[in-house]
Symmetry: D2
Subunit: 346 residues, 4 copies
């Protein structure tokens, strides 16, 4: 098989680096071009010393890349800059966008949360939301995939099947999420400094984070009506991992065990979505460096409610791993290719 020629735009961020880690071992992919305008002319090991042992192309400006040599583009640019970049790519190229620029399908909602008008409204219509376990069939046909946010992936994988089955009530859902610090990216700002983060825990953007409308869009589609969620993102002093604690009210007559069974049935053939048996709960460590999502369900304080715990690696299943999973689907490969490693522990 001819190798897929991949290009990463925005290779200098953490999601870019994680993509390189995964694609480098992908037997069907050649990393053909790496773009990062501010870092153009450098080797990747100048940007990330841990690539010193890797054989990678030199970093170039986006404008220097001949897109006719490229089969797939991974776009890792900051939010707000991607719509125009992707608009200008040739039709021959498949695109997986890791930014938030194409995740919200309602242009008004986009403008409300991102502060500027959507710049590629027509293109948006072609886009498929790349939550692989839910939209796998459409992804296979897609040219452009909007790779889901990290928090939304952790919340939607357990909630979508339950809302589709009407197993839980659609209102009053509370998603209390905790993320490792890579979720904040590689920006050189005070809040990201080691000494500010280490030995502390804090909440930010309570019910006011851009991933909230993204989650609501996915859940509303699943429920067939408008769903609103309380969503709190929080910062854990660790590099990788998201754990979402989700509080739901059960539909009449159903128990926590029932909804566990629903999820187990739904994901029984999934290579990446796992549901733990009663009494077991996941740690983010259980998915460190992997593309897995592990879920568990406990009874709430009373029999009418349940608490769902869901973990992913925010950089992998929450970003670059799912991006490669999307690529695998789009190119007809087994979706697990290059994504089968066991977690790194400890």
């Amino acid at each position: 098989m001819k190798k897929i020629r991949a290009c990463i735009i925005g290779a200098s961020g953490y999601t870019g680096a994680e993509l390189i880690r995964i694609l480098y071992r992908h037997e069907n992919v050649e990393i053909k071009a790496l773009a990062a305008d501010r870092n153009a002319g450098n080797e990747m090991y100048d940007i990330y010393q841990h690539f010193i042992t890797a054989n990678l192309p030199k970093v170039v400006k986006l404008s220097e890349i001949n897109m006719s040599d490229i089969d797939v583009v991974f776009c890792c640019l900051p939010h707000g800059t991607t719509q125009e970049v992707i608009k200008n790519l040739p039709e021959s190229v498949k695109v997986i966008d890791l930014s938030a620029d194409f995740r919200l399908f309602d242009a008004k909602l986009y403008e409300q949360w991102y502060g500027h008008p959507h710049k590629a409204v027509d293109l948006q219509k072609q886009v498929v939301y790349g939550l692989c376990e839910i939209n796998g069939e459409q992804i296979k046909q897609a040219r452009i995939v909007a790779n889901p946010g990290c928090y939304p992936t952790s919340a939607s994988l357990p909630l979508v099947p339950l809302l589709q089955k009407k197993a839980i009530e659609h209102d009053g859902i509370i998603i209390d999420s905790k993320s490792g610090v890579t979720g904040a990216g590689r920006a050189e700002k005070l809040a990201n400094l080691y000494c500010e983060v280490n030995e502390g825990f804090k909440a930010y953007g309570i019910c006011n984070h851009r991933h909230m409308p993204e989650i609501e869009q996915t859940l509303s589609e699943a429920a067939g009506l408008g769903v609103q969620v309380h969503f709190t993102p929080q910062l854990v002093p660790m590099n990788r991992g998201i754990l979402s604690t989700i509080y739901v009210k059960l539909s009449k007559g159903l128990s926590a065990n029932d909804i566990r069974t629903i999820l187990q049935d739904r994901y029984k053939d999934s290579p990446f979505a796992h549901v733990l048996p009663q009494g077991k709960f996941p740690s983010t460590r259980d998915v460190y460096g992997t593309n897995s999502c592990i879920m568990a369900i406990a009874e709430g304080r009373n029999a009418e409610s349940a608490v769902i715990v869901s973990v992913i690696d925010n950089l992998c299943k929450g970003a670059s791993g799912q991006a490669v999973q999307n690529m695998n689907l789009m190119f007809g490969l087994p979706q697990t290719t290059a994504l089968q490693d066991l977690p790194l522990f400890p």
Copy 2:
């Protein structure tokens, strides 16, 4: 003033060590005796090397202590062992118990959650629950104080005034709490090992933790009716700190701003309970090593709900600091004595 002669029973655990740190600088206290049966005969610096520069009494067996030389006992024994120890102390000694043995006032509830009958039911009637900001007046008169649990302290300080004022609905309260690892004590077990904890986040005891009935007891008393809460304790890879994220439904006609005002009024003269202005949220770092509780309120997803964030240092305000605050109250001292230091940061 004659110094208060203090004795710590169970000095070898983390709460014992934290008590020593605080009492050592207390101008009105002499650390007279340290008991730890398994470590009897050792110096404290054999148990904790960081005490190498301190001048402390040798560790002895409890039975070796002459209680007529003691004015106050801090009891830091494991849960389940304290009831009989305290029963046997002379009336002349005031007692602050940091275990859970006297926190639940309903002996049946105690038995249900702790798995054995209460062994000092009569004594229980004398006990005051030592949540200083709420029960300050009773504490001043008490001979025995049950020092509150760490999670309950973080949850009750914001919730009690709101329930007393009927500013929030008493049902459906969700308390999603995150704790540093000192909360698990100094036990030599797998789950406490560095390599198991570091770089991970996990939930444990979902809606099934012994602090849940303790919280409910306090909130029910505040509300004047039975309150049930969904409570999830979680483990953060850091030494100290608890952050509780609390989801509440507002009483009709009230806003998030209203309940902030209620809390600000309630705590405006408190040296330890602080309520942040709108738009500010605390980190556990803001209370590192201190006896403070800092609270903040955000709007929920809709105007009928709010999210409360509350932070404490679990070892200090959540245990030994509050214990000294209780002692200060019981002995007629300013409650801030030895507790006024600013947080250690970074």
Copy 3:
């Protein structure tokens, strides 16, 4: 090609778990049996929850394994227990021992440092010391390989070529090493607890650690005369990684640049040993989860001395990764098989 049937004895420790991680992705290996006497009857995910998604054999007692079904045994037992276990294995089985039991070739030296007589002196004569970059040819012929210690690997890879070439003086070598906490294993003891280790740094076993004679043995062989080193092991609050800072005196007429060139020449074809150019220094992060050793050389305070920095992942190149590299060599496979992944960062 028929798969190599591998057995891990002592699968429940960190090196056992790391072996599973690597062998699970090895295209030429089948993990045939996992032994851990105390954990016999369990699944690996009962011992390490992160294996919940893996398809692995159940853990059994060593005595339950039919060794005629096994081609290679990885022995991960504690020091002192391995000599008799390996003595009893059939000749048909190749053995890679990750304990220290066969690393010291002088039985008296072994007894002096390990406190009991060597129990398999005859077997010792067959053993090859598995420092792959140095002893590759002998390893290819070996039946039993003593997998080097983590500190010795980090120190010997830079020092052996320099001593062989007489480029540095053989006396006065100082090896100041720093290790992540996995180096201490999974023992449930106070010194390994999260709250004892986190936010601290300490030395232990100064010039009195069992890896010192192991290093000296390797260096003496390289130098052709007795070499003594000052060796200080130290503990860093992180899971993985060793960095050794090595102070050497240069042979007359040679500069720091000269010895860098010697190492670069020596390792120019090595897939795992890398020497950085002047002015660059490695972090342990650069080898996180990989089998690489990265070295760098700086001038000392004067032109007659140099400082060498060397990093490895203590669990991978320092233990299980090198063990698989040894297996690859022993079975005629490319030594990089299953060991080519890029580091996990961040």
Copy 4:
């Protein structure tokens, strides 16, 4: 007693914040003014949220401070900016400079290491090097004190008495130091980001760090001849703490025990310098948040050499704590005032 009116210039860095923490509890000090030009107009809690509970003056520009109201200035400005600032302070003000600007007494050496000519050569002559345990008597008389660097403090406290007594050889001293991340300050740069630092260890500035000439200056004065040291600074993923591992050759006829005795004698009346008995070694945790320096001595590989381990809290004894100790000495106060707290552990 009238309170000492203190001013901190450069209050927004970590050493400024640590000074506030210590001075806030100092019974003889009033924090009168806080200057930080870029942050002028803010409250300290806008710069550091953990000051939310403190009652502190608003931050102003340096030019706004009336220096006739000030008794002592702590200067926490970046290196290179302090010489002119201090030159312009009135004679009535005592000065403790936490930068490196007045630490090197040879203006040429200063220029060589700091890259620009010394701008206050005359003033330099008045300056006393504020290593309290060594220069206590001169400090009492000083108007301007150059507060020592963190690494130099950790290295000089054990080495100065030994060189003064000629108990160790003055050449070939190796100082391998490891520091927490606060040592790098609060600069918003890539190398200081949480995800870059966490889970890693690295060396930087090998035998090329500005603290090396500072150490050599102090040791040369102690030895009465020119001393050169090999000095390697390294970064540990933790907030606070320095541990220096120091390799020395013993003078003829002396043993490791002898030099331990020399240090014990020298520091037997010191409130902050402690020497551990044989077989005990300090962790940086033992001095967390305190002004102590704890030292220990081990035999090296042979009887002619020794290994010294020394720990301090880099922000406290290594910076702001020692600065307050200097102030105490300069104002005739007990040097321990405000510096007596036990370490925070865990």
